[in-house]
Subunit: 381 residues, 2 copies
């Protein structure tokens, strides 16, 4: 990467945004080809810039309240050439959704890639953590992520899954692999774990280091409604997801890929909404799954172990025999953390064997990358 200082000291009176010379900065990896901004400084401040001569007001708006860019909106300052700039931070490392507010209207930053989140294509910025490289592309063999289209009997529509196959999958035509079903969060899509989460690079690196067994990872869309019962008001549009997994997705994956099609070689996990779906689908089908993971505390908030998941927790001994891995994690800065931790404690009191992860982090992808990195090595052992 080259350091290209794009502008000298900007002096603008009467505005709050800091616009300083980014002499020690470089374009974010999430920028589109050739875009000089956003720029990430060595101290993890970030400078945004956009051309908007006709706007009265432009701001940088982080996506949601649990966002490593901080609480927005951040005012941008206008220069005589019509460019608006702001330097914020230092910010947290990791992937953060954001958008610009142009006269109050949410607009993507043309200089950044878009990522499906918040129910639409949102701008995103990936801020490196210089102490972590487990999710960076390295000089190791890379697996493919297949975009896989299939017909769903449950929804009556075509669906699309992203399917990671491990390095060498194409060559070793006789080897069959275990499968992890891995779900995104609310407002996201089947694309999230690849483009925001970098699940493929996390697995590439773990497999190359011998820390995870080679596996297929199926990332489907968590939204699904029955074809014969359109969603009614108040529903989230994800009501038929579990049924799609059992009736459509697993048979399709076992048909189209070289899998080991039994419960011992099948796991399900997810983040936030996807974590709740993994718990509901996995615990409801222990003849299908033997490994379950819930990232960032979904469904932990008000869980009653007596009634949850059809009472499966009331017989800890039976559950412990069936479940090879029950994994729960949450970032300490996540508003769901207290509920997740309470679930961990209640499971412990009930004698349900499980693995608990806690550590710094918000309700954001950087935590979920860490979760996958901790979870995947424990699978299929």
């Amino acid at each position: 990467m080259h350091f290209r200082p794009q502008f000298a000291l900007l002096l603008i009176a009467g505005v709050h945004a800091l616009a300083q010379a980014p002499v020690d900065s470089q374009p974010a990896s999430s920028n589109v080809r050739g875009a000089a901004f956003p720029r990430i400084h060595t101290d993890r401040r970030v400078t945004f810039q956009v051309k908007a001569p006709g706007a009265r007001n432009v701001q940088v708006m982080p996506g949601g309240g649990s966002n490593g860019l901080g609480k927005g909106p951040f005012d941008m300052a206008k220069s005589p050439d019509g460019n608006w700039s702001a330097t914020i931070g230092p910010v947290q490392p990791g992937f953060h959704y954001y958008w610009l507010l142009v006269d109050g209207v949410p607009a993507n930053d043309p200089a950044s890639e878009t990522y499906f989140g918040w129910g639409r294509q949102s701008s995103g910025i990936d801020v490196p953590d210089l102490a972590l490289d487990f999710y960076e592309p390295k000089n190791v063999p890379h697996g493919d992520v297949h975009i896989h289209w299939y017909s769903s009997n449950v929804t009556g529509k075509m669906r699309r899954a992203f399917v990671y196959t491990p390095p060498g999958y194409g060559a070793s035509a006789r080897t069959h692999f275990p499968v992890l079903y891995l779900q995104h969060g609310a407002g996201e899509s089947e694309r999230g774990w690849t483009f925001q989460g970098r699940a493929n690079f996390i697995l590439d690196n773990l497999i190359a280091a011998g820390k995870a067994v080679p596996m297929i990872v199926v990332m489907d869309n968590g939204y699904a409604t029955r074809g014969d019962a359109p969603p009614t008001a108040g529903q989230r549009g994800n009501e038929a997801f579990g049924e799609v997994v059992i009736r459509d997705l697993i048979p399709e994956i076992d048909r189209a890929y070289r899998t080991r099609p039994d419960r011992l070689h099948r796991a399900i996990a997810g983040l936030s909404m996807g974590g709740g779906q993994a718990l509901a689908t996995g615990l409801g089908a222990l003849d299908t799954f033997s490994h379950i993971g819930a990232f960032s505390g979904a469904a932990g908030r008000n869980m009653d172990l007596k009634t949850a998941s059809g009472g499966v927790f009331t017989n800890a001994e039976a559950l412990n025999k069936r479940l090879k891995l029950f994994w729960i994690g949450c970032g300490e800065g996540d508003s769901l953390f207290p509920g997740a931790k309470r679930m961990h404690e209640e499971l412990g009191r009930a004698g349900v064997r499980h693995t608990w992860w806690e550590g710094p982090g918000l309700h954001e992808w950087q935590v979920w990358r860490k979760h996958l990195h901790a979870f995947a090595p424990l699978l299929f052992r």
Copy 2:
């Protein structure tokens, strides 16, 4: 699909945008999940709507002068609830880039998917042609599109290609396939032929009907610069693409996929800038390629057959022996059409055997879908 009339007659005085009751309309297939707008009417008018209470002026802007939505910008009209609407058209069938102008600032429509074009993520709308379904997903076997990461010695960086494998590729581990290298246009990316062009569905349908031989289609990014020579001002950033194809991409694809690694089973084609790259790369390496296609007239504008491509056209007999297919096409409404047609005529006079396509169409994806649909059946026969 359900017809859901979302609003009744909008009466707004003093504005130019037509806002009528879309009782015979439905959401575009390019909308994000659940978005009611943009809506496509049965007469191919399109109604756009966006919430922008703080904006003084909002317009719909088609991407470029050769766009099936027509010449913009189109004014939107504000309703008391802060929604802005416009109904335009009837528009041309096909995929069209567009964006909104919010107080003059380009902003994506949050209701539409984004597609990499114009050097950034742009909104897009796909308007069906009721007379054509060759690019629609049908109830036939579907191939996967692999997202494939590889290291380039030429650029010194990691690159990403999209690779279509035909239906059954995963199952029939002994079959090897011919390969088409297929390139996007300027300002686009390796994603274009899948998400804008629907190359995978075009091939699925052709293969299911027995009209094309099963093949692998490699769609790489057309931008590449040498790692040891950063681009200088005035360059497009695509200067090293041909070298990447020959030195990095083809060896990588022949290593990672079950190909037939010889010139008779290798084709290269592209649209616009990618057509020029296909001509330059293909004609410059006839020991590597035997089929070449140029969609939408790239490089045809001022071609001198005496000097073009190292003089390869001066010996028509030798060229005709080497080239199994030389395919050129252009839409009649494309500003490049006269140049492309002149190239076709000069090739004819020079005795260079080739296939020529002309028909209605602009410099847009609908023509390139038709080109691929006409071109692919002629390959590897």
